[in-house]
């Protein structure tokens, strides 16, 4: 083997060694790379519209309610999702409370709440609707009995209990 052939053979060995090291390094890198996260863990997520107005908030807890330019107190801490109108007023919520074990869904006007859909932890689901003149309608199920209750301002509530099927 000539000197030149010896040098070529030596270079080939070095190149092969470098390739081997490179392959090992890439393999080790891939193995060590963090997995792509499939769960986003945050306390709050705020979605804003093109005007910068917050329209959706997911949070634990959710913020105090903004109503017509002022932020008011909420009774206790609630976690879930809120919807806001184009001026940032809270108009709907789907949440659980730290203080009460119910899960609730609400629809609100600018002045007050008008629809409440609620489930208690042991059952007894309720759907309530009322307007600003205190007319109210309530559907609920309790102790195996369905109820419809309605009320008018200034009058006693009326319970309609459907007759048991025969």
């Amino acid at each position: 083997m000539t000197e030149e052939q010896k040098k070529i053979a030596s270079l080939e060995r070095r190149v092969n060694l470098l390739i081997l090291i490179l392959v090992i390094a890439i393999g080790a890198g891939i193995a060590a790379a963090p997995k792509k996260p499939d769960v986003l863990r945050v306390r709050q997520l705020s979605i804003v519209d093109a005007n910068g107005v917050e329209r959706v908030r997911l949070g634990a807890p959710l913020p105090e309610p903004m109503i017509l330019g002022k932020r008011f107190h909420r009774d206790g801490f609630v976690s879930g999702i809120l919807l806001f109108d184009a001026e940032g007023n809270e108009r709907s919520g789907y949440a659980t409370s730290d203080d009460y074990p119910n899960v609730i869904f609400t629809l609100d006007s600018l002045a007050t709440q008008h629809v409440l859909f609620m489930a208690e932890p042991q059952g007894s689901p309720t759907l309530m609707m009322w307007d600003e003149k205190k007319g109210a309608l309530r559907f609920f199920v309790d102790e195996g009995q369905p109820h419809i209750r309605y009320g008018r301002a200034g009058e006693k509530d009326v319970d309609l209990v459907p007759e048991a099927s025969k």
Binding site: N51, G52, L68, K70, R71, F72, E87, G88, L110, A111
Partner: protein
Amino acid sequence: MMWLAAGITSIAIAGNEVVSASLDGKVRSKQLIASKDYELYAVTASANRIAFCGNSRDINVGERIFKIPAGWCLALDFSPDGRTLAVGTTEKQVELFDVATGNILRSLDTKWSAAAVTWSPDGKTIATGAYGVAIWNAPDGSLLRNLEAPPGAIHAVVFSRDGARVAAAGPKTAHIWNAATGELLRKIEPEGFVQFVGEKSVIEPITVPLLSLDFSPDGKTLATGGSDRMVRIWDVESGKELRRFEGHHASITAVRFLDAKRLVSGSLDGTIKFWTLK
């Protein structure tokens, strides 16, 4: 465009200048006066200082800071002599601060978040708006009377310049009372509001909250502003709407007469507009 972030929540007249407070924490006149890292809900002015507050226990009075015991501030107003500051809070209280010392002199129990507070021109009584309207004796903090108020949360209360009348803005109506007797004199109910749908506006027979109001200097007319985005002028005696001004693109949170012929309005659209009555 981040118009709501800079939405104006309150205005005050300081000398010849209009001062505004906004949700971006800024107090502005022709220039920036102050900047806070929390939403501001109220500003007021006396002869020689302004005060402002918002989503914080801090009440900014000139260069000083007073503290409310808990919660945050929704409204404030200087007494006519500038010596006492009434602060409406989320803790169902109106705190009366001695401006000289920063100490709380008295607390008025409003039983609900006090979103509106104003002094009578003679400084003897205070009107508060919470879930109802009440008149208080300022010197000792005793409740004089609860007024027959619009149902729901009250957003603004104001006395006429002569102190004879007091008015409040509620979810659907403005009520006007005889301030001395509490007799309800007039209910003002806007008949039609504008419901905004995209670029078009359509008149719909719906009602939305009134957020602000002010008597004209002679007390004969009342200006209101609210979620219909219109400034409306009403004849106090008849309750009839005399005129309306359109131009704001969000709820009007503040209206003030500058004089008999001019008024100013502030809106959550982040603008202040001046209007001329002809």
